[in-house]
């Protein structure tokens, strides 16, 4: 039944005061929700960062360990290289000394440096030259010296001199 010229205004249970209150609560809830979502996101981001940092930390730790081991290895290498350099220097001096030992009248054809000895091949005019001028110094250096001769075509003598140092003495030196 509508006998009115106009339609009635919509009546709402929610008055303007209630509407204001609801709007206030709605805005508050929205703000709380947004804060919750923001904090949740930040928490998630923080956890992700934490995991990433933890992983980075582990990586750095691994890298540090690896680098430490590399440093140790390199230090060892350096020590070895120094030792080798020293040994080479010693060897060089020894060879120099050895060649200094060889008199002018004796000619070496081959020299073999062993860990515990020295084998020399050469030609000498005679045994005496060899014995006095080469074997005597060799004796003072090596513990055991063995020499053998065989004649050359020109009357001289080929010689093979095998000189050894005792194993115990070598290990002590090391």
């Amino acid at each position: 039944m509508t006998y009115s010229y106009i339609k009635p205004r919509t009546k709402s249970l929610i008055t303007s005061e209630l509407k204001l209150l609801f709007i206030f609560f709605f805005i508050t809830i929205i703000m709380l929700l947004m804060t919750y979502l923001f904090l949740t996101y930040k928490n998630y981001a923080f956890k992700q960062d934490h995991i990433y940092i933890e992983k980075s930390k582990n990586d750095f730790s691994d890298n540090t360990n690896k680098m430490n081991s590399d440093i140790k290895f390199i230090e060892k290498q350096v020590a070895i290289s120094k030792k080798i350099f020293t040994q080479n220097t010693v060897l060089k001096d020894s060879i120099t000394n050895m060649f200094d030992l060889v008199p002018e009248r004796i000619t070496l054809s081959e020299a073999k440096l062993l860990k515990n000895g020295l084998i020399l091949y050469g030609i000498t005019p005679n045994k005496d030259v060899y014995n006095f001028m080469l074997q005597a110094p060799l004796h003072s250096i090596f513990h055991h010296t063995y020499s053998s001769f065989y004649p050359a075509e020109n009357g001289w003598l080929y010689f093979v001199s095998k000189n050894y140092i005792d194993e115990d003495e070598i290990s002590e030196e090391e």
């Binding site: 009115s4 106009i6 009635p8």
Partner: protein, 345 residues
Amino acid sequence: MLDKIGSFLYHKVFVNIYIKDDSLSVYIEKKNIKGTISSEEKSFKTIMLDKDIINFISFFTKDTPYFYISLLDSSITQGAAPTCEHIDMNKFYDKALSKYGCYKNKWSYYTSKHDLDEIDNNFRDFGLDFIFSPFVILTRFFQDKIDTNLSIFLLIQESSITLSIFDNSELLFAQYLNLKSDFDDDNFSIDDDNDDEVSLDDIPEESIDLDSVDVDDALDDLDVFGDIEDLDSIEEIEEFTDIDDDLEEEIISDKKSNKNHSLSENEELFDEDYQMFTAIQSSIKIFYEDERYNSKFIESIYIADSIGVSGDLKSYLEEEMFLSVFIRQINLGSEISELAQAEIT
């Protein structure tokens, strides 16, 4: 659902406003689920919404969102037509300029769109929920009589008369008579040659002064009754004219005997009753003469009286128009409130 909860929580307040001459009457009814809690009526000496009216209404409406403000239309261009067919409506009013509604798909009531806009503008601070036509109020008020009678039905307000003629719930004729504007504008002047169809051009011949009333002339105006076989004989009519003379004397004697009222007040009341009578008479004349209306002989008139009309009007109607007059008091505010309540259920 919310409305049901709301009706438990809040009272419903019906604010019913109607214009009384140059004042505004506000009838407020407060209801809950069980029924009416309280009602109050107050008149304000203005026809525009002012601070006092707003404060008065706000006092009742501030506690509930469920308040309905109704206004009884008092537009002078309103009316009702005995049709609800869109094609036929233009015979009675300009549809383009009017807002209209149909009553049970039998007849239509209308008012000016311009006046509705004006009302809307006047009440823009408060807003309105319903604007009712007095024809609807009148029809509902006399529903029991309208359904079973061929009769004139009147709603008398201080400055207007809502007139409708029903034949067993079928509207034959309706007119809204604005007494104040009609008389103020001198529409009843003898020299007024521009009277339109609605103007009461025969009235001036009878004059407002009862002394100059020629009953025979009045009867001549009712010549249309002559063709009706059931009409009483002329002799009987003459008896009425005798009564009319007696009535005239009675009025004069009443004037003399009533010492509590000044002479001017009595004259004013007398004029008002006669103005009403002449307006009704000329309106009935239009009903009988206008071919648009299916005129039938009317023997009775039912009056919904909101102002407390004097016995003079009844006498005029009985003695000059030979109508059986039945008067029923109406509380307009209450009726508007009932209609508003019916609208929202």
